[in-house]
Amino acid sequence: MAVTGFNHFPRIAAAMHEALSDIVAETTVDLGAAMVSHIHANGQIDTGFMVSSVYTVTKNGSTYGQAGTPPGDAYLLPEVGISGDMEGVAACAANYGEWQNYGTRFLPPRPFMEPAAELIQGEFEAKLAGLEGRMHVV
């Protein structure tokens, strides 16, 4: 049947996967950049270790391990990996990052993770809305 010649769904599916994984990777990198921006805006830079420990993991690779020297008894948390090209990680590897973000008994929270995520959410949705334009098939 000639119908099989018009079946573009496999190509569409492949292109959609590629476009979606590109969006995930781009959003992840932008999320990491937004976290860094918020750390700067919050005035959370003393030694620079925490801001330098922000990293991203995408299908294109990882930026983990580019942090400066940990001050005092601070240390770098292990890298968080991804299990496929539809995942991305933007994280802060400084062990005290969560205390800065959520606060402690002695420290009010100065969030940089959630505000960055809220900022990037709109961008993510806009990119998803433009998904069709990224799929160059048929």
């Binding site: 969560e98 959520y102 606060g103 402690t104 008994r105 420290l107 009010p108 929270p109 969030p111 809220e118």
Partner: protein, 141 residues
Amino acid sequence: MSSEIAMCYAWVDSTLRADSALMAAATGGVFQGMADIGTAPPFAVYARQSGSDVMTSAAVRLWASILLQIKAVGPTSQWAAIVVIANRIDELFKDVRSVALATGGVLSCYREQELAMGDPPIAGQAWTNLGGLYRIALQGQ
């Protein structure tokens, strides 16, 4: 009104303080941001975690979407009381709709994420936090 955060803080604070079970467990009290140094634990703390305005296409603000952390804090040796406080917090804020305030009101409140983390040890004693991040839609007027 531009002080949705202040309205939110006032509503959360008064809701927490009005709960006798919570106040019985949170013997140190309820604090905004962080507890006073020297406060005897356990206690409850709330603070803004994030937020954004929800607007029309013409940039008219409809409401503020506020992400608030509300949690119990104390040494791990007081874990039982910390759990009681966290449970009461969740009971109070996990599913709230249409609360009228002096001006405006809370449109909705629900938990968006659990929160549990250890604090740096204090004098060799481990401390912990337990609570959640609550999404509060609050209309100023």
